[in-house]
């Protein structure tokens, strides 16, 4: 490998190099100082010790000795001089860190961590697969894809352009439920649990969050089937939108297909924002204009 190192040519990445300034340094707006947003590639929701040490080395050597934690599990390395970008990128590439997750592209895929005890269905593998296929792909506007392993939604799938949440269908077992126990009824935020004469029934208000299973002190309730709910068109920022449900109880393969389809349709059906000639619509705005059915067909 060391022989090839001299021939190593660096391609400037399209995204991930963000122009930035410190508020007091007005002079550098021309792009003399940049910030590099890095994510682990191939996609991982964890950073290894070696990667942390690389970041440490880079910020000490080229940056300001500080690193910013972004809300989409990226590290941002601020105040890198323009002429040092190549050196920084070389150091990062070697340890499996790449610039990305910025601009009008598919942002860093966000999955919840696999060590979590609350997870109903693992999402990491699906996240890695989606990242491999469409991570950092050029898009009309920012597209955030978030995966959550349970309805606590730490990764905020409802506010992501495409949100995938693991859900479960709750089944009532034959075991006897103690008469005075009302834990599941108390835990349900949707009034979906009913108890008549010691038997529990679940009505159609259920959103499959499985909070009741978690709360059940006996094993009367259990998860019968798991799958994903896919919501599209959520966004944060100036105008908060919550994603609209487009699929329920899909498996990994179907979820992958739907994500691909949504991204494809978004590229085809997008238009400029009303009154703007620069900015294209976000996914949520396209869906609001066309309606979910029109968008998906």
């Amino acid at each position: 490998m060391s022989d090839n190192e001299s021939e190593f040519k660096l391609e400037m990445p399209k995204v991930g190099i963000i122009k930035g300034v410190l508020a007091k340094d007005i002079e550098v707006v021309g792009g003399k100082v940049v910030n590099i947003r890095t994510c682990a590639r191939p996609y991982k929701n964890m950073y290894s010790v070696a990667q942390l040490r690389t970041i440490k080395k880079v910020i000490e050597k080229y940056g300001s000795g500080k690193v910013h934690l972004s809300p989409r599990h990226n590290f941002e390395i601020p105040e890198v001089k323009q002429k040092e970008i190549e050196n920084v990128l070389k150091d990062l590439y070697i340890s499996g860190l790449f610039p990305g997750g910025a601009g009008t592209s598919v942002r860093n895929i966000f999955t919840c961590p696999d060590w979590c005890s609350k997870q109903i269905r693992p999402v990491q593998e699906l996240g890695e697969r989606v990242s491999f296929n469409s991570g950092d792909k050029d898009m009309p506007n920012k597209v955030a894809i978030s995966f959550a392993g349970c309805s606590n939604s730490c990764s905020r799938p409802q506010n992501a352009d495409i949100g995938i949440t693991a859900i479960g269908e709750v089944g009532v077992n034959d075991k006897t439920c103690p008469d005075d126990c009302k834990e599941c009824i108390r835990s349900c935020q949707f009034d979906a649990m009913e108890k008549h004469n010691g038997t529990i029934t679940i009505n159609d208000k259920c959103t499959y969050c499985c909070k009741c299973v978690e709360s059940c002190p006996e094993t009367v309730l259990s998860i019968k089937k798991t799958g994903f709910r896919i919501t599209v068109g959520g966004k944060e920022g100036s105008n908060v939108m919550f994603g609209k449900e487009c699929a329920l109880f899909v498996d990994d393969f179907e979820a992958f297909e739907i994500i691909e389809k949504v991204l494809r349709h978004y590229q085809e059906k997008v238009a400029f924002r009303p009154g703007s000639s620069k900015k294209k619509e976000r996914l949520g705005e396209v869906i609001e204009r066309l309606g979910l059915e029109d968008f998906m067909s």
């Binding site: 300034v21 508020a23 000490e60 972004s70 809300p71 060590w115 005890s117 730490c154 905020r156 944060e236």
Partner: protein, 278 residues
């Protein structure tokens, strides 16, 4: 010593440690701190860390017995374990270097973080500070969200029509500025008061008029997401801290167990959290 920051892991007997930073401020880690985190993950954990959605770092697979040793290690580094359960979460803030951030909130975040660190509340409470309307830190879906506003004005200095403020990509993101023969014109309907244009305007035609903060209350994610409601606009940092104090005091006084600020607002209305006149 509370058990805040120690989370249940998937493997039995092992837990995950959530570490947040206090110095320089919640969203930034120094090289030294990264080194410490790497050392902990290597020595006590499984060699990898997770960066969470709220600017904390989680180190999984840690034996409960080694936690005291880890706490000693991080004691004077500006890191602390916490930000979980009902203990107040770390105060999120956006980056110091961001172009759109007309008035950086890093000092305020550090101040609030130190003030509330370790305090226990009726339910999970997220405080997020954003430097502009785009709210990368999700101010509009946090229990207490703050958005910094910069009102701009057009000064006497003549616009040289360099068009930097309207030339993509580093321009007004809301298309609120139009350059005419007379100079720059600002559409106040479209302007979100981020103050970005004051930084790129070379002749100083567009300048900062006043800074203020918008407070949003009651947003949340989770099973039942809720968008935050606008609470009020305050003029200074001191007043903002005072308001947040009052909101938290009011919240502790009226909230039931596990009730979030959004639920309190739905039940009692916004007035329950306002400063009471004495």
């Amino acid at each position: 010593m509370n058990d805040s920051g120690i989370l249940q892991g998937r493997t039995k007997g092992k837990s995950t440690l959530r570490v947040a930073s206090n110095d320089p401020y919640s969203a930034e880690l120094t090289a030294e701190q990264i080194g410490i985190i790497a050392d902990i993950a290597e020595k006590f954990g499984s060699g990898s860390v997770h960066v969470t959605a709220r600017q904390t770092i989680e180190i999984p697979d840690i034996e409960l017995t080694s936690i005291n040793e880890i706490k000693k290690l991080i004691k004077n580094s500006g890191l602390y374990t916490g930000s979980s359960g009902k203990y107040i979460r770390n105060v999120m803030a956006c980056s110091r270097w961001c172009l759109y951030n007309a008035s950086p909130l890093s000092d305020l975040a550090a101040q609030l973080n130190r003030k509330y660190q370790g305090s226990e509340l009726p339910g999970k409470t997220l405080i997020s500070l954003s430097g502009c309307d785009f709210s990368c830190t999700r101010s509009r879906t946090s229990d207490i969200g703050v958005i910094a506003r910069t009102k701009i004005k057009i000064t006497d200095k003549k616009c040289k029509q360099c068009s930097l403020c309207v030339k993509a990509p580093l321009c007004c993101q809301m298309d609120a500025i139009t350059i005419t023969d007379e100079g720059a014109e600002i559409d106040t309907e479209r302007c979100v008061r981020c103050g970005f244009c004051t930084k790129i305007c070379r002749p100083g035609t567009i300048a900062i008029d006043s800074n203020s903060y918008d407070i949003f209350l009651g947003g949340k994610g989770g099973v039942k997401p809720r968008e935050a409601d606008f609470f009020k606009n305050v003029k200074s940092e001191d007043e903002l801290v005072k308001q947040i104090d009052a909101i938290l005091a009011g919240y502790i006084a009226v909230a039931d167990d596990k009730e979030r600020i959004g639920d309190v607002i739905d039940r009692l209305g916004m007035s329950a959290l306002e400063i009471k006149d004495e």
